[in-house]
């Protein structure tokens, strides 16, 4: 589903190139649950952003579902990730002025889903996440864990084939973090959604099927996780 070839990203500063990513090549298949790990500054988030088409690499090739992403124009790219990618952020990034239901509905608006269908899908997701009672609340009326649930619900409502999560549990207490990770695992196993997460936590990484270790912009290790659970 995703093929990266020789991805490089650097910033030129007064003639000196400071590399964020070097020679990153990998392939991620449909249905995988990949965790990207590494110390701060290793380039994890940048790699995720490139995967999510929020940033462009300086060099390299990126193929997403058979399309050469880097040769697409902005409109096509938006089209692509509108339909296939869901984002989950460490800081949730809900829109403060929108209610829970409206936040979840937002991606559907940009996909031009009809009103009736939007309603039913949002209702569906709310139901699945046990948040029907909270649908008219605003984000600042929710706890962190609940906000992240809304964030995931919002990512899921557009029925993406892949979820990109940047430290999804970084701002959460461990109990809530476990709940979120369980959810991810369930989505991965039951619905076959590809998940790529950036994380610092070995525990979280253990939920996945594969770990990419990044160090100074280079993939040091690419290991499959023993499914112990």
């Amino acid at each position: 589903m995703i093929i990266l070839k020789n991805i490089e990203k650097y910033y030129a500063n007064k003639g000196v190139k400071s590399y964020i990513l070097r020679h990153v090549s990998t392939e991620i298949k449909q249905g995988e649950f990949v965790s990207i790990m590494g110390p701060s500054g290793a380039g994890k988030s940048t790699l995720l952003n490139i995967l999510g088409m929020l940033e462009e690499p300086t060099y390299g090739e990126y193929e997403f579902m058979g399309e050469d992403v880097l040769s697409l124009n902005e409109r096509k790219r938006i089209e692509l990730y509108r339909n296939h990618i869901g984002f989950v952020f460490q800081a949730y990034h809900l829109i403060d002025e929108m209610t829970v239901a409206e936040n979840i509905e937002a991606p559907l608006l940009y996909k031009k889903v009809s009103g009736a269908e939007r309603k039913s899908r949002v209702a569906d997701v709310l139901d699945r996440f046990n948040m029907v009672a909270k649908k008219d609340l605003f984000p600042n009326q929710l706890s962190g864990g609940q906000q992240q649930l809304v964030g995931i619900a919002r990512a899921l409502v557009a029925q993406p084939s892949i979820i990109l999560a940047d430290e999804p549990t970084g701002n959460l207490q461990s109990a809530q973090a476990l709940q979120i990770m369980d959810l991810f695992k369930k989505l991965n196993e039951e619905e076959g959604i590809t998940i790529i997460q950036v994380t610092h936590s070995e525990v979280n990484a253990a939920y996945g099927s594969r770990i990419l270790h990044l160090l100074d912009g280079v993939i040091k290790e690419d290991i499959a996780v023993e499914q112990s659970v």
Binding site: L54, F87, D96, M98, Y110, K111
Partner: protein, 783 residues
């Protein structure tokens, strides 16, 4: 989608109530100002547009030659002769100069003076098809004893009844029969009209231009072609062919809708608008509106830090730029519409004040052309939305989501630059306004205190209504002089402030004496007016020969070289006995015209205004006694004016301009301060962390204030540098339209610069002080 956009936009606006209010308030003030001026400009441009024939009706004027003046009057014989030779002329109508005079109308006990009854051709209503409420246009002025009244006049005399067939006495003796009543048209007209009678002359000969001629062209006639054809026909007239000097003469047919604003002719009894004034006001009110829009933009951009996150998320969720632009424009549109409603309220509330100030009768909701106004407002709103929302929408929608979501809000220097430019523009406009205001004020004061060449205080003017009173004036004069408080009495026809003037052309010693204004007076006129003789002496009844003597003014001495002729015979064998100072007659725009003052004789015009000086003590009693005396002489209602009040009309429009500019300037300055306030608050907000760091490093509050102020002072000083030359050019071109003008000094410019700098420092410091004074830890902890 739209409904959700609307909902979210409303919530956002509600959340930032303060900013929203500021946005809406600023914009509505700008809009209200613009709306009022729009109404004014529409009104000025709507003259005579009620007339369905307007585009085919022309007013004829005559220009003696390329370097001659243009006169609006023409001989009665001209129109029929032209029609004979020009098939394009469908019809013509004329009114007679000598029919337009004040009349006393009476029916039973009701009596009233009416100034503007025109003596016209019977077919006048073919050109000006008024709507008749009673009677029929066609048969209404066929015979000499018929009179048509305007509805207001009719209602004042006859009430709301149908007066057709009733008898009306004019000047207590002539019997007229009311033949029709017409409704006032819904747009103003270039002539003041209160009624019509049949004109009392069919023509005074080719040499007497005593008529005002209107031509109706066939529909579809091109105005330029029409003018050419008229002139071609004119040159073929037998009397023009005969006389060589006539061949340089040209005819000018001015569309009737343009007479009010664009007529350039002299001896023109029509109302005159000032197109320059319309342009100035429309220009400045547009500037005001643009300032308000800029404010709006700046306030929106200033808020955008808060909006950045939302924008970033929306983008990540799949919003394309277009979605976001639409969304932000929705938000702007809501605010603009609310501002429009508020502006309508403001305009409606301030219109009565404006009407009083400008002596107009404008209204918003009973406007005579609501379609036009609606369309104009629609266009303006579209413009406002694009101008005020456009930049912010494009600016906000082009955030890069990655940067925003990482909390890195450092926008490019582009937007900051843009905002600085916008603020500078606001200040440029505000400074130009301040300078303009000061210069207008100076000029108005100058005009008011200008030596007008005569003493206008305690001078009373009233009209003589009967010829016999005038012919036997001396005993009445003696009686008036006996009244306690009356010091001097005389008569005159054109007293200062009257715009009409008799202008003659003669020859003296083979030299032409062209364009000489003639004022007919009685003895003692110069004593009443406090005009001493500069050389020679004043005309006096003590000298028997003075009944044919004349006085001239300085301008005449200069133009015709009369220096050596004082005490000697001049034109018409009349002796120049003395010279008086130039005086202001028509207004401050006009330099004094060469004028001769002659005592009334059988051959001169009539001096039909009594002018008398009172000593200013016990004025009320004096006026009462004059009234009693006069009514025993002429049994009509007594009407009088004071010269200083009637003379004030010559500069009233500038006093009004001054007042309007007062309002404009304060509003503009307030809006500029609002904009500055927003930008300052934004800058401070943006630099909170920097300020914290600097304080930790040992900066004091005053250092911080200095630092923040510096940025803004540079802006304002730049604005001054740009504004001052603009203001200078505008002001000198405006001042150059006055013959009497104040000299421009450096003070208005310095004052404007000072005010702008002071306002900036105060506003910015107020904003910066709180942050500069806060504990640095709070600022740093925030990250």
């Amino acid at each position: 989608m739209f409904r959700l956009n609307l909902k979210i936009a409303l919530r956002n606006l509600w959340k930032t109530k303060g900013y929203t209010l500021m946005n809406i308030f600023g914009l509505s003030i700008g809009l209200a100002g613009f709306l009022i001026i729009l109404l004014y400009a529409n009104n000025e441009r709507s003259y005579d547009t009620w007339n369905p024939n307007a585009e085919n009706v022309y007013r004829l004027s005559i220009k003696g030659g390329p370097d001659q003046d243009e006169y609006a009057s023409s001989p009665a014989e001209l129109a029929p002769a032209l029609k004979e030779m020009t098939p394009e002329i469908e019809d013509y109508g004329r009114y007679y100069v000598w029919d337009t005079r004040q009349r006393l109308l009476s029916s039973g006990p009701t009596e009233m003076y009416v100034d503007h009854i025109l003596g016209v051709d019977s077919n006048w209503f073919n050109l000006f098809p008024y709507k008749f409420i009673y009677g029929a246009a066609k048969s209404s002025i066929v015979s000499k004893d018929q009179i048509v009244l305007s509805q207001p006049v009719s209602e004042k005399i006859f009430g709301k009844t149908n007066p057709v067939g009733q008898t009306l006495l004019i000047n207590t003796t002539q019997r007229y029969i009311v033949s029709g009543v017409y409704e006032l048209p819904n747009t103003p007209e270039h002539i003041e009209i209160e009624g019509f009678v049949k004109k009392s002359s069919t023509g005074d000969g080719w040499n007497n231009g005593n008529f005002y001629t209107y031509l109706k062209a066939k529909p579809g006639t091109d105005p330029v072609e029409f003018n050419k054809k008229l002139n071609a026909a004119f040159q073929k007239l037998p009397m023009v062919k005969k006389e060589a000097s006539m061949q340089k003469t040209t005819l000018i047919a001015l569309p009737v809708t343009e007479v009010y604003l664009h007529s350039t002719s002299l001896m023109d009894p029509t109302k005159r608008g000032n197109p320059k004034m319309v342009t100035i006001l429309v220009l400045f009110s547009s500037l005001l509106l643009i300032i308000a829009c800029i404010n709006f933009t700046n306030l929106s951009i200033a808020q955008s830090v808060k909006r950045a996150k939302e924008t970033g998320i929306r983008k990540v969720l799949g919003a394309a730029k277009g979605n976001l632009i639409r969304y932000f424009l929705t938000e702007t549109t809501i605010q603009c519409l609310v501002a429009l409603l508020l502006a309508l309220v403001f305009a409606e509330v301030s219109l009565p004040i404006m009407n009083r100030l400008m002596d107009m009768d404008l209204s918003l909701f009973t406007y005579n052309n609501p379609g036009q106004l609606g369309l104009q407002i629609g266009f303006v709103m579209l413009f406002v939305i694009v101008i005020s929302g456009g930049y912010a929408a494009f600016f906000l929608s082009s955030y890069e989501p990655v940067k925003v979501l990482k909390g890195n809000f450092s926008r490019g220097t582009g937007s900051l630059w843009m905002r600085k430019v916008l603020i500078s523009i606001q200040f440029i406009v505000a400074i130009v306004f301040i300078i303009a205001l000061i210069i207008i004020k100076q000029q108005v004061n100058y005009i008011k205190n200008q030596d007008v060449g005569f003493n206008k205080d305690h001078v009373m003017v009233f009209k003589i209504r009967k010829g016999e009173t005038r012919l036997n004036f001396q005993p009445i004069k003696d009686r008036l002089l006996k009244i306690d408080g009356v010091t001097e009495v005389s008569r005159v026809n054109y007293y200062p402030g009257v715009k009409a003037m008799q202008v003659i052309g003669r020859e003296f010693n083979g030299q032409p004496v062209q364009n000489l204004s003639v004022v007919t007076v009685d003895f003692d006129y110069f004593e009443v007016m406090g005009m001493p003789a500069l050389s020679g002496r004043l005309i006096s009844s003590k000298f028997k020969t003075d009944s044919t003597a004349v006085m001239v003014n300085e301008a005449a001495v200069k133009k015709y070289g009369l220096k050596d002729l004082i005490g000697k015979k001049w034109i018409n064998d009349q002796v120049i006995v003395g010279v008086v100072k130039d005086h202001v007659q028509k207004g401050m725009e006009f330099a004094a015209e060469p004028t001769v003052f002659m005592v009334e004789t059988k051959n001169s015009n009539t001096a039909d205004q009594v002018i008398l000086k009172v000593n200013g003590q016990h004025t009320q009693e004096t006026v009462a006694e004059i009234k009693n005396l006069w009514q025993s002489v002429e049994p009509f209602p007594f009407q009088y004016t004071w010269l200083d009040q009637s003379f004030a009309n010559v500069y009233i429009q500038y006093v009004r301009l001054d007042k309007i500019f007062n309002v404009f300037t304060y509003v503009t300055l307030a809006l500029a301060i609002l904009g500055l306030f927003a930008l300052a608050s934004f800058t401070v907000q943006e630099r909170t962390k920097e300020i914290g760091v600097r304080k930790v490093l040992g900066a004091e509050t005053k250092d911080i204030l200095k630092m923040i102020n510096k940025t803004f002072l540079i802006l304002v000083l730049t604005a001054n540098l740009i504004a001052i030359p603009i203001a200078y050019i505008l002001a000198s071109s405006w001042l150059s339209s006055f013959a009497y003008r104040s000299t421009m000094s450096i003070w208005p410019f310095l004052a404007a610069a000072f005010v702008s700098v002071l306002v900036t420092v105060l506003t910015v410091s107020m904003q910066a002080y709180k942050t500069a004074n806060a504990k640095p830890v709070d600022a740093l902890k925030y990250e």
